[in-house]
Amino acid sequence: MRIAVVLGFLFAGAYLVAVLEARLATGRLRLAAPGWAAMALLGRESVVPRQPDRLFFETAPALLLIAALLAAAVLPLAPGLFITNLATGALFVNAALAYVLVALLMAGWGPDGAYALIGGWRFLGQLIAYSMLIVMPITAVAMRAESLLTTDIVASQTGLWNILYQPLGFVLFFIAAMGVAFLPPFDLPSAEGELAGGVTSEYTGVRLAVFRLGRLVLVITLSAATVVFYLGGWLGPVLPPWAWSAVKILAVSATMLLIGHYLPRIREAHLLAWCWKLGIPLALLNIFIVGVMVLVWP
């Protein structure tokens, strides 16, 4: 039951993200559009390109979806409303997200297409940029909560949300989260104007539908992670906890999409340079500041 509620929540969120994405792309708000699009994809042919690495080609979309769902499994939407509450929750989010990379590499390698291949390897470069900026801010969050349990992390923000307690960590994590979900301006692996869709360029029909669903769930998962780690999770006055989670998660997703709409795609070399030369020192500084604060105001 609990699992069904969480999954229903994730898919509903994914649907709303798809509505917003379509709104930004076409300029019109049509609530039914993603539903029709999904149904149309299911009715369309789905072919395997010539000379594929078939195993990878078939696995990749499913793996992307599974990785996003696994990461979401440890994120609580309300007290008691989670799929599982692992003692290593914050670390587990990372572990699951790491398989997003594996899925994209498979999707890039599988179809034997140049655009897809370049897209897949580009994402590997992107991982080198964002991965430290996911792990290090989470470390600072866990330091304050003195626990890796995601429920403890939310509870630790009762007095003051982490976005105010460690704003630097929030900014870094937010940017890195957009990188994980390859949202614009970090859509290097799926760039439309540079790679004609990149990793998605050879997927069609039902496989494309699964891939897109996985990507949408990933956006929701990362928004949920941002909410749990920095925006006080379900905490908030008046509304019931689950409603607060829902509002915050959708707000974070919408912000991510809107930012990307108003920016050109980043250059891969700059992404790496900025993440390593600026991002990682700042993340270390954040850990240091949080460390001092935890000791001074326990």
């Binding site: 690495d53 195993l55 990878f56 692992l86 003692a87 290593t88 670390l91 587990f92 990372n94 572990a95 790491a98 398989y99 990379l101 594996v102 590499l105 498979m106 390698w109 390897w121 590997l124 991982l127 080198i128 991965s131 626990s147 890796l148 349990l149």
Partner: protein, 175 residues
């Protein structure tokens, strides 16, 4: 008893999966398949840790290997001229030496496993949160010097490797 049996079953399952993926690494000519087979072999090991109730270790293993093996994959693809394995090139060489090294290694590891004194067996694994706390205390106590040394060594190696690869320094060397 039933729980222990189930646990044993999963440990065995993941162990066999790890071995099988390990074999796949050498049975394919595609560099990408080889690298990802190694990844899934290591992931199966991580799952085995999870089945053994070593949660932190398991999750850490699963997390680290995904990125590490993917990065290895790109190096394998870059350096091998036939990364897709389409030319069915034989990639094995020095077979006798490697078989000998493998057998000796396996014997040595089994020997250590069988004959080392492992101390008293714990009847119940500590809770996951407790394990993390214990691990942290260990890392910042007795084992600190070992980890710090290893860390600094790796850092030194990274800096040295980068320095060697820098074109400016290479040009100086040749001129």
């Amino acid at each position: 008893m039933a729980v222990i049996t189930l646990q044993t079953f999963f440990i065995a399952l993941f162990g066999i999966a790890a071995l099988w993926f390990g074999v796949v690494v050498f049975r394919t000519s595609s560099m990408m398949r080889s690298a990802l087979a190694l990844l899934f072999s290591q992931t199966a090991l991580g799952a085995m840790f999870l089945a053994m109730q070593a949660e932190f270790l398991g999750v850490l293993q699963i997390m680290m290997m995904a990125t590490e093996m993917s990065i290895m994959a790109i190096f394998m693809v870059m350096f091998m001229m036939d990364p897709g394995g389409l030319g069915e090139m034989d990639m094995t060489h020095q077979k006798r030496l490697s078989i000998a090294a493998g057998v000796i290694g396996a014997l040595a590891v089994s020997g250590v496993a069988l004959f080392a004194h492992w101390g008293p067996t714990a009847t119940v694994a500590p809770a996951a949160a407790e394990q993390i706390r214990g691990l942290g205390t260990e890392l910042l106590g007795r084992s600190m010097i070992i980890f710090e040394t290893a860390g600094v060594t790796i850092l030194t190696a990274m800096i040295a490797a980068t320095a060697v690869a820098m074109p400016v320094l290479q040009r100086k060397k040749t001129s």
